[in-house]
């Protein structure tokens, strides 16, 4: 840079020296809008357009079909188990990690993040290896009549695995940032541990908690790869909504596939809106640092 330092200053143009020219700015903005429009917004819009192509009657019919209804029910059931399970885990893990000092803490955090770096297909595969008919525990469980893989428990397990870190990774940095003085004060004033958590910690972390649950839920309801491996695709029994979309699509029932898909897209939209509102209103209270 030093060679050019003594160039004479550009003629008096009233532009701040730390931004780009109007033309460059406009080009970059237009390119960004186009890129996000084509790659993100357009697919979302296409889902709704394709879903409504056959008219409202066909749309509602596709959603009221028994297989579709049972897929919706199963998806809700799986999320209703997986999300609270990971919620409890997330709170427990962040309490242990943020409020105490112990050795190996970074390693524990890495292990908690591990499911994010595992392919969903592999997440399904590990449960097949453990609980499948040729698996380590499968034959033993089957002798007691317990079926895990190709049944609902396997779907729940695979969903818990892929959504495992969501709540924890939201709460850990948040609680670490908040420190422990509040809790220490409450304890020294005679509050029990449970009281301290409910009345001191929980109000501090509630928005972060909601944020984590929101993302966890979106993934739990939308998971495809892991669930696809363990489900066995039994219509009306082990089909979740994303799997039902695939079956309809491969059957060339495009309108019906997009009708079910539009429900999932709606879920994504609601998730995005709530998430954005949380960020705008409580941005300072969320662990805004570096979420991926």
């Amino acid at each position: 840079m030093s060679d050019q330092t003594l160039q004479n200053a550009p003629a008096a143009r009233f532009r701040r020296s730390t931004t780009e020219s109007f033309a460059v700015r406009t080009t970059l903005i237009v390119l960004s809008v186009l890129f996000l429009g084509v790659f993100l917004l357009f697919p979302l819009a296409v889902v709704f357009v394709e879903a409504s192509k056959q008219g409202m009657g066909a749309y509602l019919e596709a959603l009221q079909e028994p297989d579709a209804l049972s897929a919706i029910k199963l998806t809700l059931l799986v999320a209703a188990i997986a999300v609270p399970a990971n919620l409890v885990f997330g709170v427990a893990a962040s309490w242990a990690i943020a409020k105490f000092d112990f050795r190996g803490k970074p390693f524990l955090i890495t292990l908690i993040d591990l499911p994010f770096s595992v392919s969903p297909v592999i997440a399904g595969l590990i449960y097949v290896i453990l609980f499948g008919t040729q698996g380590y525990l499968g034959p033993w469980l089957q002798s007691y009549g317990i079926q895990v893989v190709f049944a609902v428990p396997g779907i729940v397990l695979a969903t818990i695995f892929v959504t495992f870190p969501f709540v924890a990774r939201e709460l850990i940095p948040l609680m670490q940032e908040q420190g422990r003085q509040d809790e220490e004060a409450a304890i020294s004033l005679g509050a029990s541990g449970f009281q301290t958590f409910c009345k001191v910690t929980l109000p501090n972390i509630k928005w972060g908690l909601m944020y984590g649950v929101l993302l966890c839920n979106a993934r739990a309801m939308g998971e495809f790869g892991a669930v696809s491996v363990v489900s066995g695709h039994i219509r009306g029994q082990t089909n979740t909504m994303p799997l039902h979309v695939e079956i309809l699509y491969n059957d060339y029932q495009w309108a019906a596939a997009f009708a079910v898909a539009s429900l999932l897209a709606l879920l994504a939209l609601v998730t995005l809106v709530v998430k954005t509102v949380l960020e705008w209103r409580f941005g300072a209270e969320l662990a805004t640092a570096r979420r991926h």
């Binding site: 840079m1 330092t5 020296s17 730390t18 020219s21 970059l28 903005i29 960004s32 890129f35 996000l36 917004l41 357009f42 697919p43 979302l44 889902v47 427990a92 893990a93 309490w95 105490f100 000092d101 112990f102 050795r103 524990l108 292990l111 908690i112 770096s117 595992v118 392919s119 297909v121 592999i122 595969l125 590990i126 097949v128 453990l130 040729q134 380590y136 397990l157 695995f161 495992f164 304890i187 993302l215 309801m221 939308g222 495809f224 790869g225 491996v229 909504m241 994303p242 979309v245 695939e246 898909a261 897209a265 994504a268 939209l269 995005l272 809106v273 998430k275 570096r290 979420r291 991926h292």
Partner: protein, 282 residues
């Protein structure tokens, strides 16, 4: 942390509940994550080395791995370029609709992958919304490698934007002012002063996007065409092996993918450690 008492494993603390929460954390982590992954590794070690090598060097497996990692690499590159641009535009410029655009970036996190898959296929198929115009020129997008790269770009974009964005926000504008005062034009200031400080974050975002893309299944299988040796990605090959009840084959490919992914994960940590030394806390 524990330097005050080298013998103690945990520092004493008045807050209760360590045993309960730590115990629960470890138990749950072991049951859901560690034991099942250990089972995968155990299963792989039950293969002899020759068997493992036979599976790993199989032409179809190699083609799938090459495709998965190659397409993911290109998609991550596209995301690095456009993600950086989007992050820059979102942080630095003010224009109508900016906040909506900002919110939209997270769509790939929220939209189920199967939905993304069929939507992208509806757009890029030869009869699709955009695909038909390319088809007129004889260019195929869906059911080719291009289609796979598009799907992987879709799911990887937020990783780059969300990693780079906070770092751009934290750039000290005075550095740019100093560069300008010293006579650097805007191009020089951006490319010689600003971008180097963004490089670690950009690399991290690149690796995150690529790691996610390598394992991606749902959004790809619809648009890929899934022709063995040509458009068959590695995760799909695992599923196919499982459906053939070839557990050994499935676990071997999965282990290969895991090893490569962990190597990439390690790379992120090394990049971050290097960046911390070079640029301070990132």
């Amino acid at each position: 942390m524990a330097s005050t008492a080298a013998i103690q494993w945990r520092r004493p603390n008045v807050i209760p509940g360590f045993g309960l929460t730590f115990g629960f954390t470890l138990t749950y982590l072991s049951l859901i994550v560690l034991i099942p992954i250990a089972a995968l590794i155990l299963r792989t070690t039950s293969l002899s080395w020759e068997q493992f090598w036979g599976i790993a060097s199989n032409e179809r497996v190699l083609a799938a791995l090459r495709l998965s990692f190659g397409a993911s690499f290109i998609a991550a590159l596209v995301n690095a370029v456009f993600g950086l641009m989007v992050a820059w535009v979102l942080v630095r410029y003010r224009f109508p609709g900016r906040r909506i655009l900002d919110a939209i970036v997270d769509l790939p996190f929220a939209l189920p992958t199967a939905v993304a898959g069929i939507a992208l296929t509806a757009i890029f198929a030869p009869t699709g919304w955009i695909g038909q115009y390319f088809e007129a020129f004889g260019i195929k997008i869906a059911y080719t490698t291009t289609g796979i790269i598009i799907a992987l770009t879709f799911i990887g974009l937020p990783f780059v934007v969300r990693t780079v964005q906070p770092v751009i926000e934290e750039i000290d504008r005075e550095v740019e002012e100093a560069a300008a005062t010293l006579g650097a034009n805007r191009f020089q200031a951006v490319f010689k002063v600003v971008l180097p400080t963004l490089l670690p974050a950009l690399l991290t975002g690149f690796v995150l996007a690529m790691a996610r893309a390598v394992g991606e299944y749902g959004s790809v299988i619809f648009i890929a065409g899934n022709i063995p040796y040509v458009t068959e990605i590695a995760p799909l090959l695992i599923v196919i092996r499982l459906e053939e009840f070839d557990y050994g084959g499935a676990t071997a490919i999965a282990t290969l993918m895991l090893v490569i992914s962990f190597a990439m994960f390690l790379a992120i940590n090394l990049i971050q450690a290097w960046a911390r030394r070079r640029f301070g806390d990132v």
